[in-house]
Assembly symmetry: D2
Homo-oligomer: 140 residues x 4
């Protein structure tokens, strides 16, 4: 059975807030929520995987940005999170597949994301739907 | 002696084209050039490291994009390239430092880039100015 | 509940053979069995995790070898295998802990093993009982 | 021009000691030297790359040990070190190639070694003569 995925809506805020356990200050979370709702083209779209009661059990925040290597767009899946109590049922995979559909709808030439090397549970899913690149990330 | 870095200009096109050995079709290169010159806020800025004759010997294409984890911006150094005949003289480091200054000017909360795991020569420089993250990248 | 671990014995051969799904020719398996039973000091010891009927459900082949960095020995856990149908019950961890006890009994100054980077299920256990080193392995 | 490699000899001790900058207590170094000179089959052989005056400029300590995956032996290159002032002239590669010859002479079915992930200078040589495996190392 595949999980249904839809766009995040205003009424989802309490559940979104619970799911989005960011380790950032509350004001950043409020800013992110406001930007998600504003729907400007330079910010992420938000997708939610929902259960039978249409309650979000997982979320994906997806940014489309320009690349010097693409005439169209790159699709960056910045956040992917599923309620720990609702995992291993396909919600993560459904969110990735919905992200792919959004990328395809915009003609994106690449969809990508990063994850911690030791995030084994997530990587076992990612290995099935994507390819681990040979790129390592540097940060200041 | 530190290398001078400045913004890319129209007159740099022939040298930029030679430096930017992208493995993408010529039309993408033309599109990228046009976008760099247009200077829209959703596209990369281009920095060049220049020699004493003000001729570019290296380039950096830098994108500022929104993040769900930042009230301001993230700074993504997508391309960093130095003429092989002019390497090991600090041009790469000068371009990264110039990128940091651009990021600081915009209040970016993160500056990052990726490189191939086996790009040893570049990584020996990156290790001195940044931190390798524990993140691995997945792609479709 | 902890799994019991004991030394491999002659009567275990049929089960050992089934567990030891080496991708090597049958003759190598026979040679390995003969060497395990011979018990020479330059070959591995074999430990088995057993169920309530004393039937092996997992095995460990452990070599003690000299090192230029140790006055005593290094302990190399070359094979660690648990029947897929009996996993996630602690047999792997029990085998590692028994290996540690054997290493301690010989005064080994290091116990180590390798695993494929993408062997997530095993690594989630290894992360709890050991430390991933920063070493990568080269082979001819 | 290829570097000459020969077996370590008693008279090499002062140079060997200088080259072998182990971060282990002096007593371990003495034990290692004594074992190298004793030449027992369960300990490493020592190879040295020498300059025109037959003075060692680099060393390799190589252990042959049993494996459950081999009817013969595995060859483990535990230490490979070249005087920093004499690098980039082929001594490291010559020592690896001499190790391969020793392994072949014993019918070893694998020759391997490990190195720190960020040891870029060494890895650029290793990439030319061997293959990086997908194995990561765990240690207690």
């Amino acid at each position: 059975m595949s999980t249904r995925v839809r766009r995040l809506e205003e009424r989802d805020k309490p559940v979104w807030h619970t799911l989005y356990k960011a380790t950032v200050p509350e004001e950043v979370i409020e800013t992110t929520w406001a930007r998600l709702m504003a729907g400007a083209s330079d910010f992420h779209i938000a997708l939610v995987a929902v259960d039978d009661q249409d309650t979000p059990i997982g979320l994906a925040h997806v940014l489309f940005h320009r690349s010097t290597w693409s005439p169209t767009w790159y699709c960056y899946l910045e956040d992917l999170f599923v309620d720990p109590a609702r995992r291993q049922k396909g919600a993560g995979r459904a969110l990735i597949e919905a992200t792919y559909r959004e990328a395809d709808a915009r003609g994106c030439t690449r969809t990508y994301w990063t994850t911690q090397e030791f995030n084994y549970r997530a990587r076992s899913v990612y290995d099935e739907v994507a390819t681990k690149s040979v790129f390592v990330q540097y940060r200041r």
